[in-house]
């Protein structure tokens, strides 16, 4: 069963982030996917995350597909104009990629090539609209396509952003354009997530909640300072700070994640895990969360 079918049946979906390598050595990424494959339904492959140069998302998606995994292609508006975006999407479909996650993309100044031209010819709403047109057999200029894709399109939303309202307005537009699912930025405050859900219930689009295991108090602070749109509340940071050994830190990390997943599970249609190198904790997190 593929992701689209799982979502339409209302199954609780588990997706996991996969990061292409910095270089050509794809071995570790593929091995990690092989280890996690039995726990997750699809791998969501990042597109130059945080504007740091890596191998293309489409290449790793294709390699994952060849090993029997289901990929989700992340596509950002940061590096390609409307021509290149459409060209790459048509190519991805021809390579067997059926799912796309459309997002704005971080600004290049946050990455390792800060002088790169920030393209943003389309924004994420227009990218979703463009994919919808391709799915209908037309390009953005209205020209007919010979053979067309039928992507399942996902979009992202920051569920715990403050203030939330401007983000909700944009989310509603994406829902109007018919996105198949929303994926949230990582959530550390289940209460804030519930407030968000109450406001968007009527949209009728499945929501996958983002989860990043915290490795340490230092990492939590770093994310608060440096990762756009992430906020770890102080009590969680203190909980991690109290850990004395590596084992204790891992245990607390699993506890925190499982606790958040349990709290949001009744109000979500799935989770999106971003293990950031701690993929060995994924089975424990899912187990403790009762999934």
């Amino acid at each position: 069963m593929n992701l689209r079918e799982r979502l339409s049946r209302g199954e609780f979906v588990i997706t996991c982030e996969a990061g292409p390598p910095k270089g050509t050595d794809v071995g570790p990424a593929l091995e990690e996917a092989d280890r996690l494959g039995r726990y997750v339904h699809a791998f969501n492959v990042t597109d130059l995350q945080s504007s740091v140069l890596r191998m293309s998302s489409c290449a790793l998606c294709t390699l994952l597909k060849a090993r029997g995994h289901e990929p989700i292609l992340q596509v950002t508006c940061r590096d390609r104009n409307r021509l290149a975006l459409q060209a790459d999407l048509l190519g991805a479909w021809a390579l067997g990629i059926e799912n796309v996650l459309a997002l704005t993309g971080d600004h290049p100044v946050l990455g390792d090539h800060p002088g790169a031209w920030p393209v943003f010819d389309l924004d994420s709403v227009q990218l979703v609209a463009a994919i919808r047109e391709l799915n209908r057999g037309r390009d953005l200029a209205g020209n007919e396509l010979q053979g067309h894709p039928d992507f399942l399109v996902g979009a992202v939303v920051n569920a715990t952003a403050k203030p939330l309202e401007p983000h909700l307005a944009k989310m509603r537009l994406k829902a109007q354009l018919g996105v198949g699912f929303f994926q949230t930025q990582t959530v550390y405050d289940p209460q804030a997530y519930l407030e968000f859900v109450r406001k968007v219930e009527g949209l009728g689009v499945p929501i996958l909640v983002g989860v990043i295991p915290l490795k340490s108090a230092k990492m939590a602070r770093f994310m608060n300072e440096n990762i756009a749109g992430v906020h770890v509340p102080e009590p969680i940071i203190q909980e991690l700070e109290a850990a004395k050994t590596k084992e204790d830190r891992e245990k607390r990390s699993v506890d925190i994640c499982a606790r958040i997943v349990r709290a949001v599970k009744p109000y979500a249609h799935g989770i999106h895990l971003m293990p950031m190198g701690w993929d060995f904790l994924v089975p424990q997190i899912l187990d403790q969360a009762g999934i």
Partner: protein, 225 residues
């Protein structure tokens, strides 16, 4: 040499809801020399509105609309006519329209597309406010330019990096889309965020249309060359 042109009539009328009354502000500075401001724009716009069922409550010819303090003072004197209007149309460059939007708590719409500045940045210094994109969007964004105030030039609301009113790009830099949201909320036009915009026409500012070049100032410069 600044070049701007009046927007197509259908677009101008498209901003208005039935029966809305308008006030016209026209800049007598740079745009006047290319026929997109001055007395001519007031006459042109008056004709468009009155022929299409929109009463014009008054008009003002402002020396330089991009001089925010001055234009604010001049508008004070127009208060009676201004208070009768639902919306303002401004025939000025993108900076001028934004300056007026900042001093008036009503919807302020651009009547023009700003195509180029020839390096002139207006009399409202502080930051670059208009990228002369040639397809002015200020009617949809509460008179705050999304292309200059948003670090990514987004057209449909904030990216995921907007947090507590700050942009992801730099500490202390305000998020343009938070500003736009607050402004639309203030003038009661949050409904503008429920519409999808077609992709921006990027070529509109790349080439100044030949017809716009035939101005006295342009010709004078060419003679001097």
């Amino acid at each position: 040499m600044l070049v701007a042109e009046l927007k197509p009539t259908e677009e101008i009328l498209g901003y208005l809801r039935p029966g809305e009354r308008v006030f016209i502000l026209s800049c007598n500075g740079c745009v006047a020399s290319v026929g997109a401001g001055g007395e001519k724009a007031i006459a042109d716009l008056r004709a468009v509105f009155s022929q299409n069922g929109h009463a014009v409550t008054g008009s003002l010819l402002a020396p330089f609309a991009c001089n925010k303090a001055l234009v604010g003072l001049r508008l004070l004197r127009e208060e009676p006519a201004l208070s009768q209007a639902h919306v303002l149309f401004v025939a000025a460059c993108g900076v001028g329209v934004q300056a007026v939007a900042q001093v008036v708590d009503k919807a302020v719409y651009p009547a023009t597309n700003t195509v180029t500045y020839g390096a002139f940045q207006g009399l409202w210094p502080g930051e670059e406010r208009c990228q002369r994109c040639g397809q002015c969007l200020l009617a949809y964004t509460g008179g705050i330019c999304p292309l200059t105030t948003c670090a990514k030039g987004l057209l449909h609301g904030p990216c995921g990096g907007s947090h507590e009113g700050e942009c992801e790009v730099e500490k202390g830099r305000p998020c343009g889309w938070q500003k736009i949201y607050d402004r639309l909320s203030k003038i009661g036009r949050l409904d503008l965020l429920h519409q999808c915009r077609t992709p921006h026409d990027r070529k509109a500012h790349l080439e100044v249309p030949g017809t716009r070049r035939r101005s006295t100032l342009w010709d004078l410069e060419r003679l001097e060359d």
